[in-house]
Amino acid sequence: MNMQLVTGNHAAGHSMSLAAEANRNARGSVCGIYPITPQTEIVEFVARYPFSKGKVIPVESEHSAMGVCIGASLNGARSFTASSSNGLAYMTENIVVAAFYRLPIVMAAVNRTLGPPWNIWADQGDSLMFRDFAWIQLYCDTNQDVADTTLLAFRLAEDKRVMLPVMVCMDAFIVSHTSMEIELATQDQVDRFLPDCKVPHRIDPSHPVTVGGMTVPQDTLTHRIELDEAMRQVPAVLEEHRARFKEIFGREVSGALTVYRTEDADRIFIASGTISISLRDIVDEWREKGEKVGMIKVKQFRPFPCEQLVELCRGASRIGVLDRNYSAGTGGIFWQEVKSCMQGQGEQMIQGYLLGVGGGDVVPETIREVVDDLGNRNAVASPIWKGIEQ
């Protein structure tokens, strides 16, 4: 056991560095890095790691950080980076390229409120704006989850059935800067878990091709269909690698959905990230009162696990979705996804709640209000804002 008291950022940096080192007998590892609060400690960790076959390039912007990763990955190296908030926004153009070039890049995204107004606290709106660009997105809730999911992300991204980049997301400060005692992987374990990184379409001077030449619409359509097919492989491939993870590390890493006390529940709450930890305690409180309340934590946002969710929620008459993000003009983004999955599935009430948007603390009392509200509600309303100071 390698138990240590570390922050979420340290957990991400540790797992990324060990994953990079694990590729030392193949093409090595290269990443572009650029600082932004609250992920800076991740790239600092990587920058001081003594790689035996790796290079860290401190560039001038997030856009170039992802540019370096694209070049390195297309030349066959394992590649990764980290960013947050407006840094992710600045990186956007190359984030799209990384996925559309089918590059198995892993990025830690520390969820921070997009400015303005300028604010460094937790909000998932930054990474969620990339929901349409073929990145797999996994939202973590604890430091252990960050450490383990980062390793799982490399295995998933580099699986030849998938070949897509993965964003490992965590709430700013609540995870990134809070210390927890967790079990950190050893190099030997990571070496056994991660095979050499192979990018099948990497450039090769003996077989020159042009990566990214112009196409006609029909070829682009084929490309998008291939992205769709790869995304559809993710749930089964993820389960396969979770099983292997357990064999090597002796612990579970959470999957697409984590279900808690939903078996006979008539009210189910859906949440992601750190809110789901507090929600679990509140579910217990209501169960003690004899009320049939359950919850589902969504980790895998892309691809969205629609079919499983529909099945799990079949017996519930009311569903509450708790979002720490807001899509202007509609509501919470997880709420939208849940609604679109449930369409045509029956007469369930699906109510959206906006909690901690802009990074405010989501305290147990706020979640109790939400649980109460869903129980007493006669009709569905527009998404309900919580945390407004009177």
Binding site: E60, G67, L74, I203, P208, V211, G212
Partner: protein
Amino acid sequence: MNAANPEYMSPDCLLRPGNTNCGGCGMSTGLTMLGRALASERYSMVIPACCGIVAAGAFPTTAYNVPVIASTFASSPAVASGVAAVNELNPGKDHRPNHVICWAGDGGTYDIGMATLSAAAERNEDLIYICYDNEIYGNTGGQRSSATPATARTTTTPGGKGETKKEIIQILAAHHIPYAATLSIAHPEDFQAKIQKAIGIKGFRFFLIHAPCPTGWKTEPAESVELVRLAVRSGVFPLYEVFNGVDYRINVEPDGTDPAVYYAKQKRFSGQEINLERVKTSLKRKNRRLRELASLSR
């Protein structure tokens, strides 16, 4: 050997026959000369949005006979840094160099890619960056860039550009890179010699090619090479090189040709509003300064 020989068109050349470039395209001739200079070398290219990537043709075919990565407009030096880093980590059994070349237009170099370029130069990445400068956004139909010379008419400066062209070589020299130089397709021997000199140097190397664009410059395609020759002779586009940011060397001395001949052949410089006297004055100043820098370096 004649580096400009159009018969040099084998399937093994860098830019294969059957590409989509316009007649009289300076970039196209530049690519042919580059391919000849690097005929025995191993290399890959990173090309951002520009005519250079359109020249590849449509997927799945390509006009290029080396690996090419199409990058986003501002990213070619960043993407190339990633490619070069992996090459450095994987020298191969033969330890034969595996060069990485960025091939970008002036829009991608002087404008949108400036920060990325400056950063890669400052890090002294082991790259060769070549800007083919047609002094406009050619691919989008000829809009002004910061490489467009004063008085030139473009679709976004219909009355002629009021500002002066950016001095890119001096900006790059100020990064203390090991090598920066200008190239002309009218001087193929000088072109070839400088490319071959550059491949023997480690670190960031920068080239600027004067690349006529007949559709944007409103010139005769057949006169492209003649135009850039006039530019060298009259001092509009001096051929020179800078070592380590400080040592300047002029490769071809201007012969006193009146720059008016160069301007007169291009309809982009025609019009009542164009003040050639002002242009000539600034050219004189620029060339005097260049000679002074070169004399300091002797």
